[in-house]
Amino acid sequence: MSRKPLIREVPPTTWYFRHPRYLRYMSREITSLFVGAYCVLLVCGLGALADGKESYEAFLLALQSPLSIAFHVAAFIAALYHATTWFNATQVAMPIQIGENFVPGSWISGAHYVVWALLSVVVILLAGVF
């Protein structure tokens, strides 16, 4: 008898249960759905604004419903999680070499966090919270 290689198929729909790191990956990917949904929401808001004062006020009112608040909280958490994974990734995707040595990864990610924090403050200021 001769060769008869055994092919082990990967389950196409449940593969991510095979290892915790795949689940981690999937959860990261799922958070992007929330971020996407929030973008859609913003577009709707813009549409409402363009339609005139009345429809915009109706839109604002709808935002105050418990369901909407729940969605905002969820989206916020998802966005936070997504942003962290993203910033942590910057250190491998954008290495910076100064002289012979590479800048430590934590600095690169750290710089992103700092910029993020600053931008958030600016946005909050612009929104007139303070």
Binding site: R3, K4, L6, R8, W15, R18, Y25, A93, P95, F102
Partner: protein, 247 residues
């Protein structure tokens, strides 16, 4: 030196007699400081000469002994028994066809290695008599990490993308393309882009990052792929959005 009875649960497949794999249990007494490969060798020498697996260097440099150890792709010669208190489950690397027992067929990987043109490409070749191409330590460090790959294919076993879409060139081969692209002596990036910047190349990667987690020599292929994505995006911007195609 402490001895311990090690229980191994080893995947067996014999194409002559089996249509599917099964697990066989072995118990061997081993020194606590040993690696899984030592335990397998002891099984082969004292209990079962029909057990088959590859190995050679016993120092994590030849890349022969990749296998799944408790579900994780690892080098058997660099997986220490002291870290495994219970039964150790040993299986052939996933995502590759099994020839027999723990021996897989890496043909697809070998073919992909070649496709990224992993050699120095130059338009102006300098004759040997003129000495070396100058390269500073700084330039060396830009690619050395990516030249460390021992071709063990653990990253292919870890990569779910490769598991699902076999046309994906995959982590190690793409990291090798990056190694040559980053080398100051090389001028072949354009040629490699034809394979790298495609749906089979870096754009198939969704950045699971598993490759870098399992790589035994810290090549960090994921970083290479992300860097190539960024560079390819810049190429695109230059070509399509800048006046004169960025030329």
């Amino acid at each position: 030196m402490k001895e311990r009875l090690i229980r191994l649960e080893v995947f067996r497949y014999n194409p002559d007699t089996d249509t599917e794999g099964h697990y066989q249990h072995y118990e061997v007494s081993c020194l606590e400081e040993w690696v899984v490969l030592d335990a397998l060798n002891k099984v082969k020498e004292t209990l079962d000469p029909t057990l088959n697996f590859r190995w050679s260097c016993h120092m994590a440099v030849c890349g022969s002994c990749g296998m799944m150890i408790n579900g994780e792709p690892r080098l058997a010669c660099h997986t220490f028994l002291r870290n495994y208190p219970g039964t150790i489950r040993v299986e052939p690397l996933v995502h590759f066809p099994v020839e027999r027992d723990l021996v897989t067929a890496p043909d697809d990987f070998m073919e992909k290695l070649k496709r990224v043109k992993p050699w120095i490409i130059r338009k102006d070749k300098q004759p040997i008599e003129q000495g070396e191409y100058r390269q500073t330590p700084k330039e060396l460090l830009r690619f050395r990490q990516y030249a460390m790959c021992i071709n063990c294919t653990l990253c292919y076993a870890a990569c779910p993308e490769y598991g699902l879409t076999r046309h994906f060139i995959g982590p190690a081969a793409l990291a090798l393309a990056h190694r040559y692209n980053q080398d100051s002596r090389d001028q072949g990036r354009d040629e490699r882009q034809e394979v790298v910047a495609t749906k089979e190349g870096v754009w198939e990667c969704t950045f699971v990052g598993a490759c870098s987690e399992v790589c035994p020599v810290h090549v960090d292929p994921a970083s290479a792929l992300q860097q190539m994505k960024i560079a390819s995006s810049f190429d695109w911007i230059k070509e399509h959005l800048l006046p004169g195609g960025g030329k």
